[in-house]
Symmetry: C2
Subunit: 519 residues, 2 copies
């Protein structure tokens, strides 16, 4: 590695400088202590804003000019539309047309629909991306072609980085399904309704300049105001800001695989039989196919037992919405709607509460919601025998996924990873994960189709399921069985020295990095 | 005046130093430009807060000790219960029992129920009060007995002062009718429901340490969360935090005086006949008896004309709630519920939206709601022939009222002051107001039982009502008539040199001050 580097307490060699700024190596869970104060945005005065409350400007290009677009600044966008976003591409086309260079793009996540951004990385308009890179942009980054280092953060880590002043946003651009001329905006109403705008909340509060882009301008007041117009400088109206049908893209289909359904069922049985499924309990289930299966199995078990939850954490789907509507939970606390039933429910049901990375995930706050969850179900691309887990790279080393809220959710009281033991004939349980995203001391249970492994650290859980008919096994046993089946451990990836992306922990320290994949 | 002082652009002699810190004299509306950045609260880490999310401590005294109570710090409280508050008194009793001195009390407002605070001012526990002082505390301040200088700010000015770092709050104590152990809190549910908690919002965001006090602790999550637990350090449970029936205290009774009903009707007719009452218009009416009368008359005129409003700004009362429920407005945007119908409506009706001084009033923001109002109806204790107005002192010089949102509302498109021309045989229209709270260039119309005076600056309004049967008269005529009736202008108050309180303008500059009343 040519960049300055050091080993961190997780035994990973990580860069100590990222894009010219010093970086702190991971020091262990809860060990790094932040100092100083939160980022402080500039003071403004109403004297500079129209008394009428109308901040509408003609188009994105004008808005960027008014916002002081210049070389080298940071522009943020958000992934509420996931693969259906129609704002980031025209935004950077407008920036390119204005002739600027070396921008830092700071999306909350990027998706395959953002492949055209590669042209701007090639032409120099964008210097590098800090944010999840799902698909083509991750692949591009993996190849080592991006000029700067990618930085991957969890949803909570993104809030933390903005709040702590680690990332200063010059211009935030927020695609909003409904907005008023003052800039109040929400995601639950309008023809492009996609749910909520929580991922843009930090940007709206801390950025120097905030532009709301909408395709549904209504008279003041836009209620609810998930984004407050008092933080907004300009409003731009476009024909279409996104395709909400594509928020269901990628991971949010219920699995049809018998193996994965078995894994989902085992995970639900574990939650029941370990005594976690009690009246007033709480759980989080993501939008991956297996996690959806888990929720469906758990729902039936809850019905059978006459148990209801106090709250469920989304990403919401129609399955969680059904549980709310059937009285199986008092509340859904939702950070991201993953289908249109979720959008409808959040709009119409006051017990379907939108949340933000501040409430749910920010580690540099006075607590957050994630640690209160009784059961948290998450995915992983790899786990190792020490229960360390990877969620961003494949075993070939390619960076293809974002972190999402995954790291933040590891603070739940019982963290369960229901994963297949084999993917594409490659073992998923390994000696050492390709990229360390979550330390093993926060992962409690691995559920595979070949059995359930409980982290030995959790003697309480081992005790709780003693006598149940759950297939509890040491993780080494499952690993050995899978390697026998696959003809050995996975082939190590062919990696260069160059670090293409840093993986931040929830406290802003560097837990690992991703190296260039040799092609 | 022995304190350092200067004349400001409004021709008032004001202190240039307040409680040992420099103060900027008023420079004219929209002239003073803030520099620098917002106040930045200290970074925290979840490592220091319980994973369970429970922040409950035994009592106020323990909470104050945990919060680092010490001599000379600033403690804030809020007036959501108005004259029914039961938290501020035991809070300062606990502080006194812990032996601290020289505290600055920074309430959003104080009421007659806080008279026991005088003992703490006398004993040295509290050094001085910055915040509205209604009744006995104002009288005490007027007498010159308070050691420090009082500072009166509007609701928006209080947000501005906190946000701009002008007032640093060490410990915020927030009385919340419902809260969960994490500190999420609201004012719309629970046995003491009083409405909303908007006046505490800035404190919850910017204070070093935040204590929520509730008499209705529920399981997480407390929804809605008008105060976010992520900003809260500790939660204290008390038997009773306040008497919500007393939010109706003081100003919120409909007038029965024939003169005041006439004034209210004239104000409503003015809004109608000047063409302001159009479909989709907006207005603000406070909770004073005359303002309530105005709303009731206007409601009938709107019904007759088949006109409905886009939004009404509260303080809400049953009269505004009826308008919402009868379809005469799309929304109520409400900063303070003034009766239990307001509380109920805010809780149950999604179109009754709670607001905060940030959204509605903060002048050092990217616009606010106040300037968008088509008609704004406010009270005053005095006005002068240049339309300058006073809202804090009586003509005998005594400081008996807070500013509330009054200064902030002056930015509405048509500001109307419906006031009696005489109070207790003393003329209300004067040559020079005892205390200048609002500059005449923001006051458009004075409505009295003897006629309506339009600010000559508003040629458009004079034109709009030409030909109507409204009794439009020059303000000097009304003044002369009243003086004839009362036997002359009011006797000037007997004041000492000592400045007992500074009056801040919405931008943090000093527009005037209040001097000791000789007794």
């Amino acid at each position: 590695m040519t960049q300055p580097h050091t080993g961190n307490t997780a035994g990973r060699i990580v860069p100590t400088e990222i894009n010219g700024r010093p970086a702190v190596p991971f020091q262990g869970v809860g060990k790094y202590r932040p100092e100083g104060t939160k980022a402080a945005p500039p003071l403004r005065t109403c004297a500079d804003y129209p008394d009428s409350g109308s901040k509408i400007v003609a188009n994105l290009k004008t808005a960027l000019q008014n916002a002081g677009l210049r070389n080298g600044i940071t522009i943020s966008t958000h992934h509420h539309f996931r693969n259906g976003d129609k704002v980031a591409n025209p935004l950077f086309e407008a920036a390119a047309a204005l002739g600027v260079k070396d921008l830092r793009w700071f999306p909350s996540a990027s998706f395959p629909c953002h492949a055209p951004i590669i042209d701007h990385l090639e032409s120099g308009v964008i210097h590098h991306i800090e944010g999840s890179m799902n698909g083509p942009l991750g692949d591009y980054c993996s190849s080592g072609k991006m000029r700067g280092m990618g930085v991957l953060r969890s949803h909570g880590g993104r809030w933390q980085a903005i709040q702590d002043g680690e990332v200063h946003i010059d211009i935030a651009v927020i695609a909003a399904p409904t907005a008023d001329p003052f800039g109040n905006a929400n995601g639950v109403t309008g023809p492009s309704a996609c749910g909520l705008l929580g991922f843009a909340l930090a940007d709206s509060i801390y950025a120097d300049h905030v532009i709301v882009v909408t395709d549904n301008l209504i008279d003041f007041p836009c209620i609810p105001w998930q984004i407050q117009g008092n933080n907004v400088d300009q409003v731009v109206v476009m024909d279409s800001i996104g395709d909400p049908s594509k928020i269901v893209s990628g991971t949010t289909q219920l699995t049809k695989s018998p193996d994965r359904l078995l894994i989902a069922e085992l995970a639900a049985r574990f939650v029941r039989d370990a005594g976690i499924m009690q009246d007033g309990f709480s759980f989080q289930a993501g939008a991956g196919g297996t996690a959806l299966g888990f929720a469906i199995f758990l729902k039936e078990m809850m019905k059978d037992a006459g148990v209801s939850a106090r709250f469920i954490r989304g990403g919401s789907t129609k399955y969680l919405v059904e549980m709310l509507e059937q009285g199986l939970t008092d509340y859904i606390l939702d950070g991201q709607t993953f289908d249109l039933d979720g959008v409808r429910s959040m709009r119409d049901n006051p017990n379907h509460q939108d949340t933000s990375p501040f409430t749910s995930y920010n580690y540099h706050g006075k607590g957050n919601f994630a640690s209160m969850l009784d059961a948290t179900v998450l995915g992983a691309t790899e786990v190792d025998v020490d229960f360390n887990a990877n969620v961003v790279t494949h075993s070939d080393g390619r960076l293809l996924h974002g972190i999402g809220g995954w790291q933040n959710c590891l603070f739940g009281k019982c963290v369960i990873l229901p994963i297949p033991s084999v993917r594409d004939r490659i073992p998923v349980i390994v000696d050492r994960v390709t990229t360390l995203c979550g330390p093993g001391d926060l992962v409690d249970v691995i559920v595979t189709e070949r059995g359930i492994a409980i982290n030995p650290r959790r003697a309480d859980l081992l005790e709780a399921v003693k006598g149940s008919d759950l297939p509890i096994r040491p993780i080494q046993d499952i690993k050995a069985e899978v390697e026998l089946l696959c003809g050995g451990a996975p082939t190590p990836p062919s990696l260069g020295d160059k670090v293409v992306a840093a993986i931040k922990w929830v406290d802003g320290t560097v837990i690992d990095c991703v190296r260039q994949v040799k092609t």
